[in-house]
């Protein structure tokens, strides 16, 4: 287990999934996507490492909306400042290339391409506070200094 280098890991994100990113360092980031729409149990499984979410951040992802999240990845995303919204039905609601706007607190998600709205589960104020602090570690440090 090595220390996390989000930028280095982000270079190879979704390489297997997106043909345009295959074999190309930083390929996914270059495509300019910043929201990931995902299905059930995003992140999969039960693995106690933070690297997958760090890699998404390194690839320029700024929001993940999924039908559901695996608990580690939901938690790790928040701890690392990546906002995550749970929204059953999101896969039918949004498609590649759509422009999406989301209210992280209320959970309201607007598809600006199709002019439709869907309600997801907003993030708690506590989670938003961690994200706004720059992550769990920054949050702890800020409190330690107070």
């Amino acid at each position: 287990m090595q220390e996390m280098d989000a930028a280095a890991m982000g270079n190879w994100v979704f390489e297997d999934l997106e043909p345009r990113a295959e074999g190309m360092q930083g390929g996914f980031k270059l495509l300019g996507f910043d929201i990931v729409i995902a299905g059930k149990n995003f992140g999969c499984g039960n693995k106690s490492v933070e690297h997958p979410m760090a890699a998404l951040i390194g690839a320029g992802v700024r929001l993940v909306i999924a039908e559901s999240f695996s608990r580690y990845n939901y938690r790790n995303a928040i701890n690392l400042t990546l906002p995550v919204l749970t929204c059953p039905g999101i896969r039918q609601f949004a498609h590649m290339g759509d422009r999406i706007s989301a209210n992280l607190l209320s959970g309201e998600i607007i598809n600006m391409t199709s002019n439709q709205t869907i309600q997801g589960d907003g993030l708690s104020e506590f989670a938003l506070k961690i994200i706004a602090s720059g992550g769990l570690l920054e949050h702890i440090m800020a409190r330690a200094k107070r």
Partner: protein, 417 residues
């Protein structure tokens, strides 16, 4: 009052009357396990943050279990660093060689107590739930939070309840039950939920058996498994007996299920997914190259006893190799004292140093191309124990020993009488 067991454990720890699922709380951590797999990241992050002391180092246990003894220069260097950091931070509970073991096992050997909040930087930290603790796996950031503030943030989970009644048939044991419990509900149901497991079958299980179930529940993607702490749990941990905490009769569950233990048979997780659980009988006769008995899931005395019961006075099949790894030095010592290790060695088993080793795909004991392994461990993903072109079946120590004896997948009930 209508609280589930996990709600009661959390409320009790916070000195509150009630607590609601979904609520985000900051929970004091009573026991924290950090292993060598992520330990370096945790300690170097702490150093970078400029922090040179932690809160209550006596509640921290550092396990050197993924590489023990160190099997590479890199691993040895990491252990040097971890040792230095433990000295610097005044952490005395460290699983150095000689008092080593798999971190989860060290956590339940005279450390974690019922009703405590016990976490570890590894997925199978759900295991301490078998003692009646509220326990789950965390990551490095959470571990640092626990070290520095004493707390971690937790979203109070909703609960699922599984009631298990009836006696397990001969040859069917806690591991088989643990595999059955992975598919009681639809996959999605388990995510982020506490699985409360009760019933007369659970009451009759020894702690070793309950720990198998709480360990394996991680593979269902649940947050944790919760068990009532009974006299056995208090005796096992050496803690003074306290009142039994159980869920209220009108507690609210997302879902409930009943399992009839009398109907269970030996089960296996088939390649390459833990939840791919089917009766052993479908795989009967498949040739087996390696058998692995060990891990935090099934490396305890009861497992080694089961293996010895099958193999006593007999020999491992020609062409099949048997690796046995007691979960800790304490287990190894006790199994030696009871003659179990001798029995297994006479049968042809190789005994390895207590560690995660092959289960985590680390160090010795890996499997090669085209090989088949029957293992008592908790994961059978493709490539998990070595070659990507190998099959891993997960089952009980009885099932593993039966495969070692015959050289192919065998129903252990045929060998027990």
């Amino acid at each position: 009052m209508s609280a589930t067991l996990v709600e009661k454990l959390i409320a009790r720890r916070l000195n509150r009357d009630t607590i609601a699922p979904g609520e985000i709380i900051e929970l004091p951590v009573d026991r924290l396990m950090i292993n060598d797999y992520v330990g370096c990241v945790a300690f170097s992050t702490l150093a970078k943050m400029g922090l040179d002391r932690i809160l209550r180092p006596e509640r921290v246990l550092v396990a050197l279990d993924h590489s023990m003894p160190a099997f590479s220069v890199d691993a040895a260097d990491k252990q040097v660093f971890i040792r230095q950091q433990c000295a610097r931070l005044e952490i005395e509970n460290v699983g150095f060689l000689g008092k080593h073991g798999i971190g989860h096992q060290l956590m339940v050997e005279d450390f974690t107590r019922p009703y405590e909040i016990a976490v570890g930087t590894d997925s199978h930290a759900t295991m301490y739930g078998g003692l009646g603790a509220f326990s789950f796996g965390i990551t490095v950031s959470d571990a640092i939070s626990a070290l520095v503030t004493g707390n971690i943030w937790v979203k109070v989970p909703e609960s699922l309840k599984i009631q298990v009644n009836g006696s397990l048939p001969i040859g069917v044991v806690a591991k088989d039950l643990s595999l059955a419990l992975l598919n009681v509900f639809d996959s999605d149901r388990y995510i982020y939920r506490a699985v409360e497991i009760v019933g007369e079958t659970i009451d009759t299980l020894n702690i070793d058996g309950r720990l198998i179930i709480s360990n394996m529940i991680a593979e269902a993607d649940a947050k944790c498994a919760v068990f009532e702490a009974d006299a056995k749990a208090f005796a096992f941990t050496g803690a003074p007996i306290q009142d039994c905490i159980s869920a209220d009769s009108d507690a609210i569950y997302v879902d409930q299920a009943y399992v009839d233990a009398t109907q269970l048979e030996p089960l296996l997780s088939y390649p390459h997914s833990v939840k791919n659980v089917k009766p052993l009988s479908y795989a009967k006769g498949i040739s087996v190259d390696q058998v692995f008995i060990g891990s935090c899931t099934n490396g305890r005395l009861e497992d080694l006893q089961q293996a010895a019961e099958i193999l006593k006075g007999k020999k491992v099949a020609k062409g099949t190799r048997l690796i046995v790894v007691p979960a800790s030095q304490t287990v190894a010592r006790e199994a030696t004292r009871l003659g179990i290790i001798g029995t297994l060695m006479e049968a042809g088993a190789a005994i390895m140093t207590s560690s995660c080793c092959s289960c985590a795909g680390h160090g010795p004991g890996l499997i090669g191309n085209g090989e088949c392994c029957v293992s008592t461990t908790n994961r059978n993903f493709q490539g998990r124990m070595g070659s990507m072109d190998a099959d891993i079946f997960l089952g009980s120590a009885y099932t593993a020993a039966a495969a070692a004896l015959t050289g192919h997948i065998t129903d252990p009930r045929e060998l027990l009488y």
